[in-house]
């Protein structure tokens, strides 16, 4: 059964359409990361799922139930905000208790002093306190229960926000760039914690980020969004190695995928300039080849290019070159041992790649499948 299911959701602000028919299914217990450039509508989509914003059209189901017009509080979703949105005047324990108190106590029982005298209020409050303590304990917040948010570090605040979201065991979990305010090392550590929480809680999770490494490492599936449309939803490996769209290919991967102009002749054989590269495809006419930086090697024969600059990254070396014929910049990722014997700037060199490593896109950016052929002319590498 689907945890969250969006069908053709659109959203306009005034005349400005931000979401153009988004459909997305997140299974119960699945972790989907939503990535995309700034302003593409990620937050808007998430706010629609949470019920903070109303969709202009389309339907939303949560656990199979139509939630399109339910109030936020009735949707059984929890959300972690980018700014954490903790209540600054409440202690950690009180912050975590809010979603439970709002649901389980009635208006009279919630009153500050009087509330405690209402029948049943004490027992309920005790139970809430127990659950709050358990949630806080599981996130290592046990010692901080009496602090106010202002007395916490960024990472601690972030965990309070997580605890507040998970304490009531929602059917769906929404997180809007929850790690963007943390420093790099804490981010990596918290990533793992979030994945672990997700495993334990088993709620359908939609995780917004514009950090693609976060998306690739954490998610069961990654949804790439651009300009208010979802371009592809697939497991991380597939998104990286088998993108369906040129925009997905260029958005995912750092450094960016190399792009080369090519052409499929009448025989279907793909050429770069006048070189065959050992691929045949069904399309005809101009194509764009996408080749990941790590798919290139320096070879005796291949695409002629000129070296431009070297960047040493530690675990690898980037060699920036320029394709002679088209002038396209091409980047190679090489093992660090190669650093010592790289060609000097301006040197001529040849780039080789396995035919299967080249991804073909037509002029609209749609992916074109190709098969490797044994060329009569010697293939590159």
């Amino acid at each position: 059964m689907a945890g969250i299911s969006l069908t053709s959701v659109t959203k306009s602000f005034g005349g400005n359409t931000v979401l153009h028919g988004v459909s997305l299914d997140i299974a119960a217990g699945e972790f989907v990361a939503l990535v995309g450039p700034s302003g593409c509508g990620k937050t808007t989509l998430m706010r629609i799922v949470a019920g903070i914003e109303q969709a202009s059209s389309g339907t939303l189901r949560i656990q199979g139930r139509d939630a399109t017009s339910l109030r936020a509080g009735e949707r059984d979703v929890a959300m972690v905000f980018q700014s954490y949105a903790l209540y600054p005047h409440l202690t950690v324990a009180e912050n975590i208790a809010v979603p439970l108190a709002m649901r389980r106590l009635n208006a009279w029982q919630r009153l500050p002093l009087l509330g405690g005298l209402m029948p049943g209020a004490r027992a309920t409050r005790r139970r809430i306190a127990g659950e709050v303590a358990a949630a806080a304990e599981s996130l290592g917040l046990g010692a901080l229960l009496d602090r106010r948010p202002a007395q916490l570090s960024g990472g601690q605040r972030q965990r309070v926000a997580l605890a507040r979201a998970m304490v009531r065991r929602p059917a769906a979990f929404l997180m809007d760039e929850p790690l963007s305010n943390l420093d790099a090392s804490l981010r990596v550590q918290t990533r793992r914690e979030i994945v672990a929480i997700h495993r334990r809680a088993g709620a359908a999770t939609l995780y917004v980020t514009h950090d693609q490494s976060e998306a690739l490492t954490m998610a069961d599936r990654v949804a790439v969004m651009q300009g208010g449309r979802i371009l592809q939803v697939a497991p991380p490996r597939e998104i990286y190695a088998d993108p369906a769209d040129l925009r997905v290919a260029t958005f995912i991967g750092s450094p960016r995928i190399n792009l080369l102009p090519g052409e499929a002749g009448r025989d279907g054989l793909v050429r770069v300039g006048d070189r065959l590269i050992g691929l045949r495809c069904a399309a005809r006419g101009p194509l764009t080849l996408g080749i990941r930086p790590e798919a290139f090697v320096l070879a005796a024969e291949g695409l002629p290019a000129r070296a431009e600059a070297v960047e040493f990254l530690g675990e690898s070396v980037l060699l920036h070159t320029r394709h002679e014929a088209s002038g396209s910049p091409l980047v190679l990722r090489l093992p660090p041992e190669a650093a010592g014997r790289l060609p000097a700037s301006g040197a001529a060199l040849h780039l080789g790649f396995a035919p299967g490593a080249a991804l073909l896109f037509d002029q609209d950016g749609a992916r074109r499948r190709a098969e490797a052929v044994v060329a009569r002319e010697p293939a590159l590498v």
Partner: protein, 304 residues
Amino acid sequence: MSDLAIAAPHRRAAGTGEAMAAWALTLPAAIAYLLMLLLPTLATAALAFTDYELGLDGFRWIGLGNFAEMLEDRGFLQSLRNTLVYVGLVTPGSIIGALLLALAIEAGTRGRTLFRAVFFLPVVSLSVAMAAAWQYLLHPTIGPLNAALRVIGIEGPAWLSSSDTVLLSLAAIGIWENLGFNLVLFLAGLTAIPRELYAAAAVDGVPSAWERFRLVTWPLLGPTTLFVLTITMIRSVRVFDTVVVLTQGGPNKASQVLLYTLYEEGFTYFRIGYSAAITLVFLGIVLASMWLQTKVLDKRVHYA
């Protein structure tokens, strides 16, 4: 290294020069402050312990004599009581009124600027001139208020000349005067509340507008409310011009307020020493309320 050794004394010389220049530049302001604020304040404080009267030569130090007299002075005690009643009406009235209006304006989609301008009008208008308008509005026979009451069959009181209603009427005018100012402060305070907190409250299942107000708006408005409270109390303790223009403390001292008594003692009866002592009491009330608010409430509205 040698560079540093040379540079350091140099810089120190420049430092003293700079300090001198700074003192020279602040001198006019410092002198003005001394002559126009500090000395008069100290003089007033000193006079409060004398029996100085304008027109008589010389004075005696009488210690706490003036303060002892106050405790016996029915006029003064009446004015103190009236002032407290006035503050007790105007402060909550104008704060609650302004808060409700601010919430309504904030919740509405249009007309923010219009409403803000309309309610801010009393703040920028001359209160003496507006008092004349109030005199007309509240006039027992030709005033529109009583005319309106007559329509529904009620004979309205003589608002400003009956000792039962005069303080109430002045308080109503005071509320009207303070409302706009407080409203603008509350509107500013409301815009400063992060929208995401309201979104979080909605997701957390806050069931009603009232609960949302209690969970988010009221606590986050705390610093604003404290400031508004302080300002309103100080402004209303200082009530003076409406009293001068509309009632002169009458009828039968029913609208006698602290500053008006101070003014009468000093400028009608020329009892400068006594009036200085009242000034000190007035100052004491203002400072005490400020101290109370900052000490007691400040801790409860700033959550850092």
